[in-house]
Structures are given as C-alpha cells and as structure tokens.
C-alpha cells in the first residue's frame, strides 16, 4: 500500500493550534520567569486566546474539513470555540489575582488551563470518535490536575482524586462505546457512521455502544444519575477552576454530544431521544431540588450547573435546527452568567479567605454595592428572569421543544425554573436585607476581577436586551 501524505490543513485547526503553541510558550516562560512576574504569563495566555478567537472568526463560514475528515471548521464548532475562548479568558482574568492571593501562582496553572482549552476546541470541532475521545482526555486531564492545584488543601486534593477516578471511569465507558459502535458500523467517522446506519438497520451491539457513549457524555456534562462527582469536585477545586470548568467543559462536551447524536445517530433517534428526555427531567429536577438545600454558594452553583445541563439536554431531545441554535445560545449565555456569578463570589473574598457560605453574604450590598448588583444580575439571569441572557436562552430552548412536540418537557423545564428562583434569590436577600456581618471593611476588589465582572455583566445584559445578533450567529451553526 503506497503511503500518501494526508491533507494537512493547518488553517482548520488554527484556533486549537494557537492555543497549544501559547501553552507551550507559557510552559517555557515559566522556567525563566521570576516568581514576582508570573502574572505576565497570565497576560500572555489571554493574548493567545484572543489571537485564537480571531482565527476562529476568520474561519467563519469556511465549512471545511481536514485531516482525512477528522476535524471540521463549521460554524457550530466555531461558535463553541469562541464561547470556550471567552470563558477561558475571563477565567484567567479572575485567576491572576486569585492564585496570587492563594500563593499558587505558578505558570503551570495557565499551561494546564490552555491545554484544557485546546482539548475543548478539538472536541467541539472533531468529526471522528477517536478525535472526540482524545479531545475529551485532553480537556479532562489538565482539569484533574487543576482541581488538585491547591496542594496544601486536602479538600482540593480530594476534588482532584475524585474527579480523576470518576473521569477515568467514564472515559472507559466512552471508549467501550466507541469500540462497539465501530464493531457495528466499521468506522469511527461520524459522517460514515451516519451513512452506514442509513443503509442498514441497527443491531443490539450498536444500541449498547450508543448507550455507553451516552453514559460517557452524561458523566462529563454531569447529568443525573452520573452527577455524583460534581458537588464535591466543584466545592473542593480552587474557585477559579470551578468557574472555568462549570462552563467550558459543558460547551465542549455538549458540542460533541450534539454532533455525535444529532448528526451521526439520527437513525436511532427514536431510542435515544426517549432516554435523553428522561435524563433531562431527572437532571433538572434533582439539580434544582438539591440546590435548594445547600448553604454553600459553590455547592449551590454546582447543583445549579447540573440543572442547567438538564435544560440544555432538552435542546438535544428537540433534535431540530432551532434546538441546535438554542443550545449554542444557551451555552454562551450560561458561560457569561455563571462566570459573572463566580467572579462576584471571588470579588467578595478577602485575600486568601473566601466567603462561600450564603450567610457570609449578609450586608454585602451596603459595603460593595456594585459587586452585589453584579451578583444579583447574574443570579437573576441564571434563574431566567428577563431582560437577562438566561431568560432568552430558556425561551429559545423551551420554544424549540414545543415546536417539535415535546411541550411536556418544556413545561417541566418551566416548573423547574420557578423552583430555582427560590435558591438563586437567597444570596440576594442576604446581601440586601440583612445587617452586615463583621469584617467587610477594607476589602478591595482586584482590578482584573472587576474587569472580568464588568465584561460578564455587560454580556449578560447585552445578550438579554439585544439577543438578535448572537441568535443569528448561533442559527448559522448547522452541523456539517
């Protein structure tokens, strides 16, 4: 067999490539940067992300695939790429002062975060199960390490080891699923799987393979009943890492989830749509009910992120063009909103001492009116109040579900949103209605945190008041 040089089209993978090169440069920079200048590595990382975002913009509408059909630069993947790059840049803005205050300011932090971003971009643009798996591993492995980055804190270590064990477990499920799907169809390429299934009927082996793939994805996006790791990991990991992984992992993993199921497996839609609908109901309900019981903000936001994964899953059940674009918009809206909420929590912390109990927020509105306002806006957006981004996202997703005959699912989603209002408003009530607790005076919000918070809140309001441009961008995101 003659060996042919494959089609190497570096332009298609330019965003992931730029992020990877930035990570390597930062790694080498870490070796020569003195301890007091580590923050420059953070700025360098943000610069790399901005360049990668521009590369993604320049590819808009290119709709080209490369590397023998392994990756594609379609608008769906590019929209997710931009979302991921935005979330990473905001997270790094929050991280620079945070890791300095916690005395973990090492260049490796940014290296691992950027490597994870590269994995996410690969996963969101991959069109082959092997590449999706490698993207999944490349996004997960740095996050396991980042979760345990506060090595002196046993809770951080616990978060790292829990995330690692359950993540490895879910990877095994995913890999087994790939093997069975390969056995049934003879290929790992998504387009070829779809073509193969269009010709021949499914088999039990294929069904089990698809089920195992779903378990793998469900672990990563934290769907009930595969969510057990989420509260402990989100609680124990450094707050900035929690902020990053609560949004970016969802964007990447849901991207591959949609691409695999909606694009490659429509032949089995009758089966997996029913399963996904059940999972969506369980996830929304359990996430919101458990969030009601939390007294710690990080755990509350962890359960809230589980609930939001349930809402996004409704868009997959809808399995339509509108479902796809609504999921993209929702992921973007959720990204800026949740980062804003975490940013506000970080802004209210006092150096290395964090305020994570809801009762600690008492009286924050008097001492830090602007931060309290930002947190309020973000929490209202998470709850789905107009005129914020979260409202538009929920509106679009529930609309897509009603259009395709899943009105009952939309009703359950709306009911869940109502439940969620209660726990999202609890910190707000504490901040505005209670007397200030001790120790509020003299806390300065770091300028970078303030900047990230400002960007997030402006985005939340802009996406809520003028959603049309973002919806138009998301609507162009058909999977190729």
């Amino acid at each position: 067999m003659p060996i042919l040089v494959p089609d190497i089209n570096l332009r298609i993978i330019a965003p992931a490539l730029i992020v990877t090169v930035t990570a390597i440069v930062v790694l080498l920079g870490e070796l020569v940067t003195p301890a007091e200048r580590k923050r420059w590595l953070g700025y360098l990382s943000i610069a790399g992300l901005v360049v990668a975002a521009f590369a993604a913009f320049s590819l808009w509408g290119a709709n080209a695939s490369g590397f023998s059909g392994m990756v594609v630069a379609d608008n769906f993947g590019l929209f997710l790429t931009l979302t991921i790059a935005l979330s990473a840049a905001l997270s790094i803005l929050l991280s620079i002062p945070f890791i300095h205050a916690h005395e973990i300011d090492q260049g490796e932090y940014y290296v691992l975060l950027l490597a994870s971003v590269a994995g996410m971009i690969v996963m969101a643009t991959a069109t082959d199960l092997i590449v999706i798996f490698l993207g999944l591993e490349l996004l997960s492995l740095p996050l396991y390490i980042l979760a345990a980055f506060q090595r002196e804190d046993t809770r951080s270590l616990e978060a790292g080891i829990k995330y690692f064990l359950l993540g490895a477990f879910s990877s095994a499920f995913f890999l087994y699923g790939i093997a069975l799907v390969f056995g049934a169809t003879g290929t790992t390429n998504l387009a070829k799987i779809a073509a193969s299934l269009a010709q021949s009927a499914g088999s039990p082996m294929l069904s089990i393979g698809v089920g195992l793939l779903m378990v793998g994805f469900a672990f990563k996006v934290a769907l009930v009943p595969f969510h057990w790791w989420t509260p402990d990991v989100y609680d124990g990991a450094p707050t900035t890492v929690t902020a990053f992984m609560s949004v970016a992992v969802k964007a990447a993993a849901f991207g591959a989830f949609f691409r695999t199921f909606q694009f490659a497996l429509p032949a089995l839609a009758l089966d997996w749509r029913a399963v996904a609908a059940v999972l969506a109901v369980l996830t929304m309900t359990l996430g919101n009910v458990a969030a009601l019981l939390q007294s710690n903000v990080k755990r509350m936001l962890a359960y809230s992120s589980i609930a939001h994964a349930g809402y996004i899953l409704i868009a997959l059940v809808a399995m339509s063009a509108n479902g796809l674009s609504s999921a993209l918009f929702y992921l973007l809206a959720y990204t800026v909103t949740n980062l804003g909420a975490f940013g506000a929590v970080i802004a209210l912390s006092d150096g290395a001492r964090e305020r994570l109990e809801i009762k600690d927020f008492a009286g924050a509105a008097r001492e830090h009116p602007l931060v309290a306002l930002a947190l309020t806006i973000c929490l209202l957006s998470l709850a789905g109040f107009p005129p914020f981004a979260g409202f538009v996202g929920k509106f679009l997703i529930f609309g897509a579900a009603v259009e395709t005959g899943w009105a009952w699912l939309a009703v359950i989603g709306v009911l869940n949103s109502l439940v969620s209002v209660y726990f999202y408003l609890r910190p707000v009530v504490q901040m505005y209605m209670s007397e200030p607790a001790e120790g509020w005076s003299g806390i300065r919000v770091a300028p970078l945190v303030a900047l990230a918070l400002l960007i997030a809140v402006i985005s939340v309001i802009a996406l809520g008041v003028f959603p049309a441009p973002a919806i138009a961008l998301a609507a162009g995101g058909l999977i190729r």
């Binding site: 040089v5 390597i24 080498l28 070796l31």
Partner: protein, 118 residues
C-alpha cells in the same frame, strides 16, 4: 502470522515445565532439617533487618510516572521505525513534531529538578 510465534509458546511451556519440575523434584527428594537460621530470608549474606513491607518514599512515584510517560512515547516509535523509509521526509517531520513536544516536557522536568533526588 500467529504460527510464527510458535517458538515463543514452546519457550513459555518449557519455562513453566522446568520451574514446576525443578521445584517439585527438589521438594520431594531433598532432605529437610529446618533450623531458625535456614528459614531466614537470604539477603546476600547479610543478616536481615526490619520488615520488607515498609512504605517507600513518595519520590519514587515521580520516577515511576515519568518512566511510564516516556515508555508510552516509545511505542509510537515502533511502527514509525518499521515504515521509516516509506514515510520519507514527511514521516521525519511528523515524528520530529511529536518528539519536539515531548522534548519540551523533558526540558521542563529537568529545569524543575524532577531528576534530582533531593
């Protein structure tokens, strides 16, 4: 073809049989007069001290994991070496990129003192 690996199978059978026969015969035929000194583990003539089951230093972990990572790297060289001539310059470049990335990891470990036993 699997048949080419028959010698290895024969070797495995011979090794297992030899070990089994040697142990069985010596335990059946040899005289047995156990004394305390005879039952001690043999440690190159030194009197044994302490338990063999003590916890070893966590520093070995670093060495072990680094070994595994570079070992995994090697498995990719194997098919590359087989196809080296057919892959021509292109193959050299792609393996060069692969090695360069890992070389950066090597430099990083070195500069961080990962190979020091402090």
């Amino acid at each position: 073809m699997p048949i080419d690996y028959l010698p290895i199978l024969v070797m495995v059978v011979v090794v297992v049989a030899f070990a089994a026969i040697a142990l069985t015969l010596s335990s059946l035929t040899g005289p047995r007069h156990p004394t305390a000194a005879k039952l001690e583990p043999y440690e190159s003539g030194m009197p044994p001290f302490g338990s063999a089951r003590r916890r070893i230093s966590i520093k070995y972990y670093l060495t072990a994991v680094l070994f595994i990572l570079f070992d995994i790297e090697i498995i990719f060289f194997y098919p590359w070496a087989v196809l080296f001539r057919q892959l021509k310059l292109f193959g050299l470049v792609e393996m060069g990129v692969f090695v360069l990335i890992l070389l950066i990891g090597y430099v990083y470990v070195w500069r961080k003192g990962g190979f020091n036993w402090d």
